[in-house]
Amino acid sequence: MTDVKKPKKEIKPTKNPMPAQDPVVRAKNFSEVALGYSEAAVIDEAKRCLQCKKEPCRQGCPVEVDIPAFIKLVAEGDFAGAIAKIKEKNALPAVCGRVCPQENQCEKYCTLGKKHEPVGIGRIERFCADWELAHGVKVPEVAPSTGKKVAVVGSGPAGLTCAADLAKLGHKVTVFEALHVAGGVLMYGIPEFRLPKAVVQAEVENLKKLGVEIEVNSVVGKFTTVDELMEEGGFDAVFIGTGAGLPYFMNIPGENSCGVYSANEFLTRTNLMKGYRFPDWDTPIKVGKKVAVLGGGNVAMDGARTALRLGAEESWIVYRRSHEELPARKEEVEHAEEEGVKFAFLTSPVEILSNEDGWVTGMKCIRYELGEPDASGRRRPVPIEGSEYVMDVDTVVVAIGQGPNPLVPRTTKGLELTKRGNIVADENGATSKPGIFAGGDVVTGAATVILAMGAGRTAAKAIHEYLGNK
């Protein structure tokens, strides 16, 4: 061991910069924006870690990755050891290293961050995962078979994490996915330029190596129900991770005009169906010259940046609060700004206008001012009377949030739901029905990838315990 108390260790105040595509170039292509660290940069970044005994960073990670340990291995150049350490806890490191809001998670608690920039934990994790994908994946050990069968409904981050954990514990896991490809929002929602789909599929393939079976094209609630899986399918437990895939609309006049998309449709056509490669790929997508994206979350940023890449001349975020209240990640907002996305703050449409053929020609908007903070702690937007004006746009993307997809909740008898249709589950993911567990957005409402993964992990522990006592 080297002496960690080596005197005069100089601390580099800033993170090693992340190489990225030039904003002007990248705003016109779908290739990944952030290019990833080199070996030299990742080792240098790992060496910034103070290896604190108290490990404050770990409290910020919902899947409890042993952060100082893997970073130490990276600092020593042992990338194989580092990725093995990460994968003890995290089934999707290439995804998490890219899309986690580290500033609110692990990096928020980093000791370095008190005075300087925190250690780039996400960037180091991403490097390790990419290194493994490039150098051949080692399959983690799987416990001997328990003879128990678990069905996982939905193959998004919650379902995949739950499935991986249960498989490692020796249970036979089958994942049922409604779409033709596994990954959930990682495939249809988050754009290629933030999370390459090949990376997601590589991680899904890794899960299959654990013995997890994935049945795509299988809509639970239609071809079978959760109750039938338990009663006839021979499954001993079910995990529901069906997410929040029901798009909300504004419910304003003109919203069904041609040229108005939900963010889900806009992003699904582009990402899952590869509409940006039309006509080589069959699914069309079109944007006009001036696009308005309604909302201020990550989905809205993804929509606005996608619109630019699809050829829009102007892409606007229309948000009824101000810059400060934007719920999107800071980094995403910055990337959007760099690429030329424009922002109309304190503004919201009250009507979508269309021409005689039914196509969008503009939005009648009203301006807002900020009032007192509301229950969420954010200042409440108050419309300014008489401030209506027409914003000249020809495409509108509605990104104001999603609710739980009702197919599974509706068709599972006796499952307790909230008023909004979310599944009620305790802190371990147990629902009101024995043997049925749930986690991720279907329980919490639309949240983040890593929180869904955390919920999948917690539920896997609870399911394992339930099966042990059964």
Binding site: H180, V219, N256, T268, P279, G358, N405, L407
Partner: protein
């Protein structure tokens, strides 16, 4: 992968496949649909289930070639595989024993999806009057299957090349006049939008309740995108999960028609791209 077990060609543009899809066949009901994707680069297209065999695990689809994907599908043969085939989707038809004769109307390729509904209505004890029609006799199919599924069957062609000349609405009008509008509890119509709209205009005059099965643009078919949304009685509905059947008198047909045409130029472009086989790297040599 889903195997095409049998192919039948009804006309140069109307074709039938029997497809091995046991999961769908096990649970589907009349009125529901499937979504298929031919190959990796393909789009997801919805098609209504025309028949099924639970024991053999098969689903029958009948489709008309109208654009790139359906044309490409039509070029496939028995023994070929379809990449993705998912269902059953949508709500099943509402089947009950009605008080009085029910009329089912199938126009063109819409004859196929009407078939299982007619059969189930008859099984439920209804007197089912079937009306089927096509532009001309050579585009007509399943007359025998419909004769069996219905209590009585009336056939018409627009050009009079088979049985009689006239639109399905002409025949429907005669049936309503003959039976008396107050005696008909329900009309169900499936076919091209102009035909369903014409049926609704007619039945509205008589005040006869009319159910239609809407064909909207779809992507996922599970309620997650709203591409297929339509205004019904002033409220937005998703055809894929709330439908595909709705009260035809409450549907905003103008909006539905406009939304259905959103990608017309792209559909044209896809077709040209598909057809060009010049091999000179123009992009169509696929």
């Amino acid at each position: 992968m889903f195997k095409i077990l049998e192919k039948q060609v009804f006309s140069p543009i109307i074709k039938q496949f029997i497809i091995e899809a046991p999961k769908v066949a096990k649970s589907c009901k009349a009125g529901q649909f499937i979504i298929l994707r031919i190959h990796e680069e393909g789009e997801r297209i919805p098609l209504t289930i025309a028949d099924y065999d639970r024991e053999k695990g098969t689903i029958t689809i009948v489709f008309q070639e109208v654009g790139k994907s359906t044309t490409q599908l039509g070029q496939m043969e028995a023994g070929d595989y379809i990449k993705d085939f998912v269902g059953p989707l949508g709500e099943p038809s509402h089947i009950e024993k009605f008080d009085g004769p029910v009329v089912v109307v199938g126009g063109g390729v819409g004859i196929a999806p009407v078939h299982p509904i007619a059969r189930d209505l008859k099984k439920a004890g209804n007197h089912v009057i079937g009306i089927i029609g096509a532009r001309s006799g050579d585009l007509l199919f399943w007359e025998d299957k419909m004769r069996e599924a219905c209590s009585e069957l009336l056939v018409t062609t627009d050009d009079g090349s088979y049985v009689r000349k006239g639109f399905v609405t002409d025949v429907l009008k005669e049936v309503i006049e003959d039976k008396g509008k107050e005696n008909i509890p329900m009309v169900l119509a499936i076919g091209p939008q102009p035909m369903m709209r014409a049926v609704c205009n007619l039945t509205k005059e008589y005040g006869v309740k009319t159910i239609v099965s809407l064909n909207a643009l779809m992507v996922d078919g599970t309620g997650m995108c709203g591409c297929c949304r339509v205004s019904v009685a002033g409220t937005t509905k998703f055809v894929c999960v709330d439908g595909p059947e709705f009260d035809g008198h409450e549907v905003d047909w103008l909006e539905l028609g406009r939304r259905g045409a959103i990608f017309k130029p792209e559909e044209q472009k896809a077709m040209e791209h598909h057809q060009c086989k010049c091999g000179s790297g123009c992009g169509g040599a696929k």
